[in-house]
Structures are given as C-alpha cells and as structure tokens.
Symmetry: C2
Subunit: 381 residues, 2 copies
C-alpha cells in the first residue's frame, strides 16, 4: 500500500478532507484536469489532427486512460522505463520519444514490444537501426520505428535532411522493422513567451521540415506519421497542418512557465493550473513570514520558487529555504499564515515535480476524491 493510501485512504469522499492531508502533498484538481483534457481533445478534432499526448508530464496510467477515452491514439513516453511502467499498468499504445541504444535496454525494448499491442520508438543513428533490426528479427515481431529529426536543438535526431533520407532507407530495408514515420520536436521553441515571435520561429522550422518531407516523398518514403509539437506550439502547428499528430504534454496540468506564454494569441490562459502542492506552516516566529514544509525536495526548482494559490494574503511571495522548507513572505505590514495553517502552492515546473511524488491526491474542490499512483515515478532508464 502506498504511503498516501495508508495515511489518507480513509479521507476519500469526506467533505473538506483536503485540509486533513499530511503535507507536502501533490494535489490534482480533477475538474480542472478534465477541462484541460476536453479542451485539447476538441481542439485537435476541430483541426483534424490526432493526439498522442506526452506522458512524461504525468507518468500516470489513470491520466493516460482519461486522455485516450477523450480520443487520444495512445501516449508518448520519454524513456523506456516509463513505457514499461505504463505498459504494466495496461496502457497498450506507447511511443518512446528518445532513442534506446544500449544492449541491455534494447533487450527490454524487444520484450515490451511483445507485451503491448502498439509500440513505437525513435531512431536517429545507423548503428542503432542495425542493433534494433537484429534484436527484432530474433524476437519475431516487427518493431515500429520513427525516424527522429533534429530541429536544430542538437539533443536527439538526425542532423541533416540527407541523413534523414538515408536513415529511412536503411530502416525500410529491414523486414524486422516497420517504418512508421518521422518525429520533429522543437523543444526550445515551446517556451517563447511572445505569440508572434513563437509563430515566426515555428513557421521557419516548419519550412525546414517540409523540405525534408518533400525529399522523402520524392524518394517514395513518405511517412505515415509526422509527430511532434507541444503545448507551447500546438495551436500554431495545428494551423500549419504538417503534423499528423501532436505530442502535447504540459496542457494537462500547466505550470507558470507555460502559463505566461500566450498559447493561442488570445492574451489569456487557455488551460488551468490543475497541479498543486499543499503545504503547512511548521514555524511562525518572525513577523510577516512563515516557514512551510515544502522545500527543494518537494518540487522542481529550476524555474524558480512556487506561486501561492491560497492560504496567504495577496501579494505574498515565496523563497526556497533549504531541502525541506520554503519561506512565505507577506507584503509589508501584513500577517503571514499562522502555525499549522494550510498554504496551497502551484509548482514552477510540473513534469519533474510529479516525479518526486508516489501519488496524486485527486480533489474536487476541498474534498479528496481519489488517490492515483504516479505510475512511472523515477522510471527514467
């Protein structure tokens, strides 16, 4: 039984039970989550593009199922371990968006391919194509591969248009591999705050992608799937109409970093901040400030300190105060929250924050309605 189930299972369904949670607790607002899922699903339908949401954001089989019930084809996974975790939990359609290259990982990949109905994995290197083809041939079930194209980030992907065509040609030679399509993920562009600037840079990158697709077409290697995009550029990408499916991830929860981006040029947020952290004041001995029990170990920190959603006077700010604590600072002359009071925070970056927790505390309003495991927690290998 999980720690959350043991400590809080008895609170499920009790009105107002969110206030009784031991803290820090990762809390998910179910109504916001469902509105976010519905919004993206209807957007995709209206724009005639498919959704394969990225599960690296939530690492949750429960949320993956909700996304698929709303029409998603399946989910993307950043790592093999994440795909194994979701596969074990019954999610059958999985696309691994990073290369799987070592012998020990390829062995696990082939095993997973035998266990789930629909698995795809990216490739970006000739040696890896050979290794996957050999392993898949031995196992007897073809492995679907997506050729990853570097959009200029130099993280993963084939670096040149000619290289893409060559790698696809190598893939199609192997009977044990199935050439499923291409991937083009402009990670760096997702977070450009200004809508017009983001649009211009994506249009430029899409021209580059179109050039590669034309070369593939000319070589009779047209990809069935063109996958990529993200929450930051989904609106622009859908309008451009090149992708057949979108790998949007963060939209389910949203974080500050994305929330300040004008996603659709509407000058207002499209999605709601469904992911929250409940904390409690554990020390309050200095006027105007309090210390709560959520520090560096309770959230990702590389995007700065969290924002206060509830539990402190307006204008209060936060400052990390070590591994286990956060300072809540009231504006000049105002009172900070008192000892043992609840403070609700929104995390600065959702994906690595979720990875710190074993469970979601699912709430409706102020009531705990369910506890969901973070299925792929820490499954980064």
């Amino acid at each position: 039984m999980s720690e959350a189930q043991r400590l809080h299972g008895h609170l499920i369904g009790q009105q107002g039970s969110r206030r009784s949670l031991n803290t820090p607790a990762l809390v998910l607002d179910l109504e916001m989550l469902d509105r976010n899922i519905a919004e993206m699903a209807s957007f995709a339908k209206a724009h005639n593009v498919k959704l394969r949401p990225h599960s690296k954001t939530h690492k949750s089989a429960d949320i993956a199922r909700r996304q698929m019930e709303a029409g998603a084809l399946g989910v993307c996974c950043a790592k093999l371990g994440e795909a194994e975790a979701l596969g074990e939990a019954g999610v059958q359609s999985l696309h691994i968006t990073s290369p799987v290259v070592t012998p020990q990982a390829i062995e696990r990949l082939i095993k997973l391919n035998g266990e789930v109905s629909d698995l795809m994995v990216v490739v970006d290197h000739p040696a890896n194509v050979e290794a996957l083809a050999t392993a898949a041939a031995k196992a007897g079930k073809p492995l679907a591969v997506i050729v990853d194209i570097d959009p200029g980030i130099h993280r993963t992907g084939v670096a040149t248009p000619e290289g893409v065509v060559e790698l696809v040609q190598q893939v199609v030679k192997h009977k044990s591999l199935k050439y499923a399509g291409v991937q083009f993920y402009c990670g760096r562009h997702q977070h450009i705050v200004d809508f017009k600037e983001r649009k211009a840079s994506i249009e430029e990158r899409t021209e580059y992608l179109k050039g590669i697709l034309a070369m593939l077409e000319a070589a009779k290697l047209r990809p069935a799937i063109v996958t990529g995009s993200g929450t930051g550029t989904h609106f622009i990408d859908a309008k451009l109409g090149v992708f057949t499916e979108l790998q949007v991830g963060s939209y389910v929860f949203m974080d500050h970093d994305y929330n300040v981006c004008d996603l659709r040029g509407l000058d207002k947020p499209t999605f709601e901040q469904a992911l929250q952290i409940d904390a409690r004041v554990v020390s309050a001995n200095k006027a105007g400030m309090a210390t709560v029990d959520a520090g560096l170990k309770a959230m990702a920190t590389e995007k700065g300190p969290p924002v206060i959603l509830k539990g402190a006077v307006e204008g209060s700010t936060t400052r990390f105060s070590g591994d286990e604590h956060l300072a809540v600072i009231a504006p000049e002359g105002k009172a900070a929250p008192a000892l043992a009071e609840q403070v609700i925070l929104t995390p600065p970056h959702c994906d690595p924050t979720v990875n710190l927790y074993e469970s979601y505390h699912v709430v409706k309003g102020d009531t705990l309605v369910d506890i969901w495991p973070v299925t792929g927690r820490g499954r980064s290998r």
Copy 2:
C-alpha cells in the same frame, strides 16, 4: 522487488558489472563512503564531541547503521516521514530536526515514540509544546523535546534569547515531555567558501548561542544536549567546543558545492565524492557533443549542471538539455563520447538527488557489490 533489484540483481558480484547498469543509475562508491564515515568518526572522537549524523542526506537505513557502527549516537531526520521510514527499517535512535505541528502529524509522532527506543523532536512554539504535551500524556510515554533556537536564518527556531528560556520553562512544566536540550543550526553559514570568513561568522554566532546557554544555566535549565553544526562548519564548531553533538550530513557523499569549501583550512578536500550518477550516450549526431540520458529528473538542479568524473575527454562540460537529457560538450577540436558509451557524473547537490532514486547501486571499483534501498525516498511529510 525494486526496479534496481529486478534489472540488476543478477549483476551483483560480477567483475566489471557497473558497465552493464541500465542508466541513469545512482551509484555509491563503497570504499569512499566508508573512508568518509571513518574520517568523521575519528575526528569527532579526537575532539570529544558526539555525532548524530543527518540522514536527510542519504535517507538510508544501511548508511545510518554504518554511521552508528562507527560510533554515532543515532541519526537526525528532517521530517517525521523520514523518521518513520528509518524506524520501520530498524533504526532506533532518531532526532527530528523540524517541528511537527499538525494534529495528524502529532498523532503519527506519538505512535512512532511508542515504537522506537529513542526519539527526540524539536519545538519552537508555545502552542506546539502544549499540543505535544497533551498528546504524549495520553499515550503514557514521555516525549523528548529539543528547543530549536533560530540562529538568525528565520527558518525554524525561537527568535529571541528570552523566548528560548520561556519555551524551556514551559517544556519542563510538563511531565509528559522530557527536556532533552537545544538545537542551533547555522544552515546559511555551512556553504561560505572561504575558511576564515566562515570561521569568523560562526564564532560570532557561537557568542550568541553562549549568551543563551548562560541564561539557561542561570535559570537552572542547562541543556544536556547542544546539537547543531554541519559538514561545512564541523571543524570550526568542534574546536569551539560548545556543541555536545554534531548533525553533520553531507560528509558521507560530498558534492561540488561543499567540495569547493575549504572545510578545515587545509586548502584541500577532506572528504571524497562517493555519490555518482552513471549515464549513457543516447544520441551522438553532432561533432564535439553528445546527449546522455540524465536530465532534470535525474538530479537536483539548483546548484547548476553536474561535473564529469569519467567517460569524456578532459575539459568536457555539461548543460541541461531538458527533463531527460544532458548535453556533454567536448573542448574545441576534441571528440565527444560515442553512442552507448558510459559517462559518470557527480551530482551538484547530493541530498535532493538521492531523493529522486529508489536504490543505491553500491560499487567497489567497477563492480556492483550491492543494491541498497533509499529507505526514506520521498518521505517528506
């Protein structure tokens, strides 16, 4: 069975098996660890001060036991959940260094007090003293409390000398509480890089502490335990001779941030960087750079990117490349590591890095010799 046991249990004892680990993997060099533990133990003995090492660094029952076998009184825990986890794993002497204030947490604290032989917890607020006294009285076993003194950080602790005396007076009135001593932790001073500057600031703070101890003495409330200090100031604190015991944590593993601090004024590191992260190259399509499989989810990030210990040419640097990836950049004109090659990193900040993993891969040289659970992983409430 843990993921690490399932994937790597068969590698234990196989010569050179570290190279076969699925990555990213948290790796602990056993010989370095044991040398670090032995060094601190002999230092404390020579300076006639006791050790109660802080387990928030390692969250490991195996390491806590090793520290106690080397002479430590017990361990400190930052949070109640950490103490519960170590208690369940058989560690019987636990001091919780942050206040436990909510009704639900106090209930758990009192239960734990009945389960382990030796538990202490800090208090810094009159309302909390009353709540603990009432709960302990009901349970029938006295609860040992340590009065936490704010050294000027304003994180936890009583803010004034007079307040300390008053809180101790309140504690001793309650039969259900045992006044065990005081805590004074100068967290901010631990990381001052320059030895002389650190020494001067600690001497100034120690004068403040001495003033409070004199007031307690005058009120016939002399504390049996004066606990505090850390890896950064242990040498200075031990020489000053005010603490009866030291809460040193990071010395077991060490990280860059501490390693650049001249701990003993010797201008060379005292402890070894026993904690490492093994990664693998998953993409290598750009001259002079490679992408490895350890990103924001594989280590704490607030102290900057990790340092390369092994697996890349000298002078190579790293840059975070998203949630799951890290760029390894070779110096101008040099080659980056090739696809699937192993790169060994040392994490920028050990404590929150450990918290991301379910297991330690314990190695001697290049051989996996054991797998230890991160007993208190995520047990932050």
